[in-house]
């Protein structure tokens, strides 16, 4: 029990060394810009319900397909709904799903990868074969199948994406953990007679927190892209909840006559994804990993 209560403290102590990562992140101009973009988006996602001028389903019947004006800064859509309101609110669901799905992915994938590296031997070998087999199935395909079968609830989306990204996180976490498993300080802990849970929690995980952090940021960025694509295809966030991907789909047919309905959601989505990637790249450079080689699944 003692060891469990110590976990938060230990986590905080390990996070203190992130002060250094934070500083090197800030030193890179791209990292700083990315971080700023992400912060602005997060602020909007949290605060938008309190600051939007209209409700997302309010219809202004006289002003359909209006161009930007003082009344409607981004214009209105074909129903006469305020686009500014819908764009501000349109990221909330997708960001929520992405953050949660990435957290689930890193939690189970990271933990499993670390454990496999630690256990090693036959168990590791068999499990990794299995993971490789799962990796051979494209993640998005799995998500599509599940969504087609179970419908597009918030929970279904989060869990399936969390599963799909977790599979590749297993590999990353295992690889990172392998570098430490054979090191003398782990051997020292084993020779001391430490219990296995203690070795993993106290000795191994603190050394992997930074890798997992980068992993989380990158997975969140990919998950966001995935959800928006799904929404665009009609398998993601379901109406009436406003969503960028869905808005692009709804408004693209009238792109030529009324570009605003497509332009603003695209800008919002693109800026967030670019922001996360800039921050993520700077973050991984700051802690000596380079993820630019790796492709999303």
């Amino acid at each position: 029990m003692r060891s469990l209560s110590a976990v938060p403290i230990r986590l905080a102590q390990s996070l203190r060394s992130f002060g250094y990562i934070w500083r090197s992140l800030r030193r890179s101009r791209q990292g700083t810009i990315g971080l700023l973009i992400v912060i602005v988006h997060m602020f909007i996602a949290v605060a938008s319900p309190y600051i939007v001028p209209y409700s997302h389903h309010d219809i202004d019947g006289k002003n359909r397909l209006a161009a930007p004006s003082v009344e409607h800064p981004f214009g209105t859509d074909s129903f006469g709904r305020d686009l500014f309101t819908r764009v501000l609110l349109g990221g909330r669901a997708a960001i929520g799903v992405a953050l949660l799905a990435a957290a689930i992915a890193v939690l189970w994938g990271g933990l499993l990868g670390i454990l496999l590296a630690f256990i090693g031997g036959r168990v590791d070998e068999v499990a990794m074969r299995l993971i490789d087999a799962l990796l051979a199935i494209p993640g998005l395909l799995v998500v599509l199948l599940v969504v087609a079968a179970l419908g597009t609830g918030f929970g279904v989306l989060t869990l399936t994406l969390g599963y799909a990204y977790g599979v590749s996180t297993v590999r990353v976490a295992r690889g990172a953990a392998l570098a430490y498993v054979a090191s003398d300080f782990i051997t020292a802990a084993r020779a001391r007679g430490e219990r296995k849970t203690n070795i993993v929690m106290r000795e191994l995980i603190p050394n992997l927190l930074d890798v997992l952090l980068v992993e989380y940021v990158m997975r969140a960025s990919w998950a966001l892209t995935a959800i928006s694509s799904l929404s665009y295809l009609g398998f993601g966030i379901a109406p009436p909840t406003p969503d960028w991907g869905r808005m692009v789909f709804e408004n693209q047919v009238i792109l030529a006559v009324h570009p605003w309905g497509t332009l603003f959601p695209v800008l919002a989505l693109a800026s967030l994804i670019i922001g996360i990637n800039l921050a993520g790249d700077a973050l991984s450079k700051a802690i000596g990993l380079d993820r630019s080689q790796e492709a999303p699944t």
């Binding site: 102590q13 060394s17 300080f185 020779a191 007679g193 430490e194």
Partner: protein, 699 residues
């Protein structure tokens, strides 16, 4: 021809720190080298030796810059040359042999091709001419079967052979100056002795000048004519090797020489206090002030300059110290201390750990072993075979032998990390289970292990407090406050202060890290501490301090040590008994005094003869061949293939008998003890006298 080969004048180099500020690494160094001269450069780690050595090739590490002075090679200032001009000098007329031979060689390229590449680059050789030269070079460095060897990849060579290939590559351009950066660090004594001998021979036959960078005084004494001592980026003493060794005038040189353990003395030298200043701490006056017993107000305010002394000698003897006359007048330096003085020898020895007929193998187990057998793969020979030994309470048993002899393997087995294939292990009169997991929790604290490399054995994410807390939390019922107090007290015991509790390992020096590792082991209040090469990653000055600490703790706590080392001088200082291991088999075991006097087992004799004593002119006795055996022979004596005294087929066929030379002193050899005693010289006292190889065999 009056021109010197190399002239360095007032050289100052630095690295850019922040905005316009430089951290000076090499400071105002003036030094010259004549043709064919061999100059040794010594100093503790971080003193700027490598940085200086690289400037002789006109090379600076990224961010480095020459702030003042010049390096002239045959009158040409290297740092004023255009890149292509520099390239024609570098590698050809000045070559470097780096510390780690394996890093200098490309792992995926055959060694012959790599040398040919150098030849093509510098001499424009190609085809048959190049091939011939490659074979010549490899023969020159005494590699065997060169025609076959050129086709091997670096990983198919032993450490000593790799270093020879690296030397051959350095020689490929027939350079006039060779810069050698710690070329033998990390090699076995026997291999090292062969490499040193080779260097001396090359120097004599080709007349190549050499700058030999090392912290190993013994190696320097063997190779060099002249010695320069570097401290905090400055040359503090420079003179003929014999003069400097016999009569060092700078307090730092005295400290360094004094902290080298000597085979010829049964004690450990006095550790030098303090450590070198970190680069960038430029203070007024002499940089050595904080560590100097002779320092006074003048030293703190006036920079000493490098000036000639009036000492006689063939080479001018220079020193940078205000008070060198006083230093000389103060008499001899470096007293030896008897590490075992504090330990009560009167007690009846009580066995603590008993290993009987232990076999250890890294071969596959269980299902994998069955599969391997079914596929007809031959079973690999035992890494350790019939290992029998007793460690008594409070004693230090040293385990010596070359790399790969199975020393660490035995420690891992005792620690319960690698179960033995066969045999019995008793601890404190009870059977000891073969894995940590199967040992009772109450047992765990009694056996502790300290590793060679403290960088790897301390978790970089933990603070010293967390590191010391781990064993306390695990083994003792203590509250948090109690554990914190105990951690502080432990730090005091290893001569650190409780201020260190909040630091991470990255914020400690090598010696400090190893002290923390020692403190962690002693936090458990162990009966037995397994020390695996605990000082070999440390500077001599730090090594002496850590050994002193270990001896002191043993005197206070009465713990027994299994002390694994390849340094026979250190072993002589710290051990009570010694076991000599070859290919996982014990050749000789006995009390320390008996091991270091004839009769020796032929393998012990080989090891002792190879130790480089810091005595100028002394040369290694290369008794056995420089080969690393991949696996032990199936029958007979384990040392048969390399033994210089092999008596015939009996050695190949029959296991040598255990002969008792005295109480508890066993030698496993077919040669009768009397015969061994008569034919062997006392290598310890002989080590002081320059000698030449009896059976020189450079292969």
């Amino acid at each position: 021809m009056s021109q010197k080969l190399l002239e360095v004048e007032g050289l100052t180099t630095g690295f850019r720190a922040r905005a316009g500020q430089f951290v000076k690494v090499v400071r105002n160094v003036s030094l010259s080298m004549g043709r064919g001269e061999t100059l040794g450069l010594v100093g503790e780690s971080g003193c700027g030796k490598t940085t200086f050595g690289m400037t002789l090739l006109g090379h600076l590490r990224p961010g480095g810059q020459v702030l003042a002075g010049s390096v002239r090679f045959e009158g040409v200032d290297l740092f004023s040359l255009a890149p292509h001009e520099l390239a024609s000098i570098r590698g050809q007329r000045v070559a470097v042999i780096p510390q780690s031979a394996s890093s200098a060689l490309t792992p995926t390229m055959r060694v012959g091709e790599q040398i040919a590449e150098v030849l093509a680059l510098h001499l424009g050789l190609a085809g048959a001419e190049s091939q011939e030269r490659v074979l010549d070079l490899l023969t020159q460095v005494h590699l065997p079967q060169v025609e076959e060897l050129v086709r091997r990849f670096p990983h198919e060579l032993s450490g000593g052979q790799l270093q020879r290939v690296a030397i051959a590559m350095g020689l490929a351009g027939t350079p006039e100056l060779l810069v050698l950066d710690e070329p033998t660090t990390g090699l076995d004594v026997t291999t090292q002795a062969h490499i040193l001998d080779l260097l001396r021979e090359i120097q004599e036959s080709t007349g190549t000048a050499m700058l030999y960078i090392s912290h190993d005084m013994g190696a320097i004494a063997r190779v060099c004519d002249r010695l320069a001592v570097m401290y905090a980026g400055e040359i503090v003493e420079d003179g003929g090797i014999a003069e400097v060794f016999a009569d060092p005038v700078h307090p730092y040189t005295r400290g360094l020489l004094g902290s080298v353990p000597r085979l010829s003395y049964a004690g450990l030298p006095q550790a030098m206090a303090g450590r070198p200043p970190a680069p960038g701490q430029d203070a007024l006056g002499c940089a050595f002030v904080p560590r100097c017993a002779f320092a006074d107000e003048t030293c703190k305010t006036v920079d000493p300059i490098l000036e000639p002394t009036d000492r006689a000698g063939t080479i001018p003897h220079l020193v940078q110290c205000h008070h060198w006359q006083r230093v000389v007048a103060s008499g001899t330096s470096g007293q030896m201390q008897d590490l075992k003085a504090g330990i009560d020898q009167g007690l009846q020895p009580e066995p603590l750990l008993d290993l009987a007929e232990v076999d250890i193998t890294y071969a596959k187990r269980g299902l994998a072993a069955l599969v391997a057998r079914w596929r007809g793969e031959p079973e690999p020979p035992l890494t350790v075979s019939s290992f029998t030994i007793t460690i008594h309470r409070g004693e230090t048993l040293a385990l010596v032998g070359e790399s790969g002899s199975g020393k660490s393997t035995i420690a891992r087995t005792i620690a319960g990390l690698l179960p033995p294939r066969a045999g019995r292990i008793d601890f404190g009169g009870q059977d000891l289970a073969s894995t940590v997991e199967s040992r009772p929790a109450k047992m765990h604290h009694r056996i502790q292990i300290i590793f060679q490399n403290p960088d790897a054995s301390l978790n970089p994410r933990h603070t010293v407090k967390q590191i010391l807390d781990a064993p306390l939390r695990l083994y003792f019922e203590m509250d948090q406050k109690g554990r914190l107090d105990r951690s502080g007290a432990l730090l005091e015991e290893v001569r650190l202060t409780p201020q260190y509790l909040e630091r991470h390992p990255g914020q400690l020096s090598g010696g400090e890290k190893q002290r923390v590792a020692v403190a962690r082991a002693f936090a458990a209040e162990p009966d037995l501490v397994l020390c695996d090469e605990v000082t070999s990653a440390l500077d001599v000055s730090v090594q002496a301090a850590v050994l002193e600490l270990l001896a002191g703790l043993q005197a206070d706590r009465g713990a027994a040590y299994l002390f694994i080392s390849h340094d026979l001088a250190v072993v002589r200082a710290i051990a009570d008994r010694v076991a000599v291991l070859y290919q996982g088999r014990i050749c000789e075991v006995g009390p320390v005094a008996d091991i270091y006097a004839p009769p020796y087992h032929p393998y012990t004799e080989t090891l002792l003869a190879a130790v480089p004593e810091p005595v100028p002119g002394a040369r290694a006795q290369l008794l056995a061949k420089d080969v690393q055996e991949a696996e032990p022979p199936a029958r007979g004596c384990c040392f048969q293939r390399r033994c210089p005294r092999r008596i015939g087929s009996i050695c190949d066929d029959e296991t040598p008998p255990s002969q008792f030379a005295s109480d508890g002193h066993v030698i496993r050899c077919h040669i009768p003890l009397e015969e061994l005693r008569e034919s062997q010289v006392d290598l310890i006292s002989a080590a002081n006298i320059p000698t030449h190889g009896i059976v020189a065999d450079g292969q």
